[in-house]
Amino acid sequence: MTPLFPRQSTRALSVAGLLIALFFAPRSCASQQSASTFDDLASAAAAARDQQNIPVAIQLYTQAEQLNPSWQEGWWYLGVLHYSSNQFAEAIGAFNHLLELAPRAVPALALRGLCEFETGTYDDSLRDLEIAAKHGAAADPRNEQIIRFHLAQLLTRASRFQDALEQYRYFATNHINAPDLMIGISLAGMRTPSLPKAVPAAERETLEAAGKAGYTFLSGDSDRAEDLFLQLFAQNPSAPNLHFFYGMLLFAKHPELAVEQFRRELLVNPTSDEANALFAFTSVTAGHFADALEPARLAYASAPDMELAQIALGRALAETGDLKRGAELLEQVISHDPDNVEAHLGLLSIYSHTGNKEELNHEREICRRLAS
């Protein structure tokens, strides 16, 4: 099994070292410095760094940057050395300088994101890591684990649970395992916008077990995952969001089974807007429009801005006879989300039922375009 998340100092050095390979820039700026002092400082800093004399290297790079603040390589190594020394605020400062000079320095963005994670500036960290990942920082398999894990935690904290689970899927499909990973998966699956390190010790065991069940599902072994979830349900019959978690995992490929999990979630957690909305939406996708009506009404009444509730209620109303109100809700979705395929499918169905051929053909073409 691949070791994940080693001790912080080791991890910092490792990640920095790997990212260096992506970013390393020649000392082009330094060459413009005629003063031998700068060259001497730069050489001495590099030598100290090579000898792992980190405090001295930091001092020398700092002095060199004072002489030549446009020296990108110096800011890079200064940031990396601070990061390696767990001096995250100072590392952020160095990377800020570098990113002002080279805004497309994706490795610097990734390392700044990791530093921001450590200093607790999570929104900044999420922004940086997401951009870095989008631009290939996680494409290198050696960097992928640490960037994805931090990104997944931050996505969970930001309540972007499905995006987080997609990041965690990478670990499951590659059979990479660790206790904090299980807790992270569990938090994302159980809609808890928190970080694994914030989980009280008393709750860790249950969350690890739930995370293990989710991990097993994401790894592709849905039969074993079902056994694990059934054990969890038996041990925690009134725990909120457990059935929701399993339902969300089932939803993409097995909506006919997911709907039952959402129904059971509502028995435990009857006021959950998300569970009501998903129960309604899953019933809609299964063509059980009458079943969708009541939970959709509840979800919409409680969370009228929730798009899923608008879609589920709009479609359920339309398919059970209230075409006018259904169309209004679906048009409302399209007004702020013009390419929402579910809303267009709902309108298509309304125009089909009413015989409005022109609008029907129009919606049909939109749906085909959105599916292409």
């Binding site: 072994d221 849905s222 039969d223 079902e226 089932l250 490929k253 097995h254 006919e256 089974l257 709907v259 039952e260 129904r263 996708t285 063509g287 395929v341 579910e342 499918l345 298509l348 169905s349 089909s352 039922h353 009413t354 015989g355 051929k357 029907l360 053909n361 049909r364 749906c367 085909r368 959105l370 599916a371 292409s372």
Partner: protein, 372 residues
Amino acid sequence: MSAKSVEGLPASMRGLALLAIVALSGTPFVHHLSASPPSQSHGKQAQANEASATCGTCHVAVVRNYSAAPMRHAMEPDGANSELIAHPDLKTTIGLYTYRVTTKGGHTTYSVTDGSNTISTPIEWIFGQKTQTWVLEKDGRFYESLVSYYPRDNTLDVTPDDANIKPSTLLEAMGRPVSTAEVRTCFDCHASGLVPGEKLVTAKTIPGIGCERCHEGAQQHMTDAAADNFKTIPKHLKRLDAQQVSNFCGQCHRTFDNVIRDRLHGNGTVRFQPYRLELSKCFVGNDPRISCIACHNPHQPADRVASHYDAKCLACHSSNNASSAMHSAKICPVSKSNCTTCHMPKTDIPGNHAQFTDHYIRVVKTGEDYPQ
């Protein structure tokens, strides 16, 4: 294999694909249908025949006709399939592996060998009456057979959507492992007796589509009718409009919504008749002349003679309709017979050894690509 293409169907939907390759016609097999699964441990069509109170007690003609309908034979139990009885020793070699399907003494065995070792397993579930794929069970796990039987060419060949699988072990050559949830999806459209939202229990299923599967409440109606209570009659499906019928049939044959949501493309979509029909310019939900059941009686085998459908086309495309309440459509300048041969062309799916009628009704242009 793309998760979005029909050629690489999402795993959960492969079972549905099987339904679409079920060939038509068959010998009357079941004369009386029970609405519910048997209470005994192993469900067989024979048990349904033996039920004391059945749908056929009152609905004699419908049940008699339906006994020969392809949906009734969407799955057949071991020993009941006429194709396998007629072809008791089927054999093919694909790559390093030789497959053999032998039927003897009312039982069929599926075996695969690499020349040194052999795996043999009984076939318990036959998906399809003519063209057929088998779900196998070995050591407590389910597998979809890697080869299927194609009656048009009287041959075994690679199962639809499995062409990209390159087995490296004998077990992989036997079949594609499928989760219980995926197998449940297959059974849901090929058998009866599944409990909505519940895990599959194969012993409680009955091969083929029984009355209750479409006529929800049939079992209750049968019980009540035996006591002269006719207040619990199942919903009249004839009252559904064309859009609702399309959605209803699409539960298994795939709806327009399903195909758009799953972004399915390619010739393989020809198997999804409700989707293809809804692409037609003439499809509109409030016109009963374009409903699935305007042309097809689900209780009977589909008619294979093109002229059988002429009257259905002319119900719209005829000058006789000019004064009718329903508006008429353009009149074909070429012919008034065998309309489907031009406007609903037969389409091949590569590797499927079968042709399907494209239900996308249109003016077909010579040399045009398969319209998505």
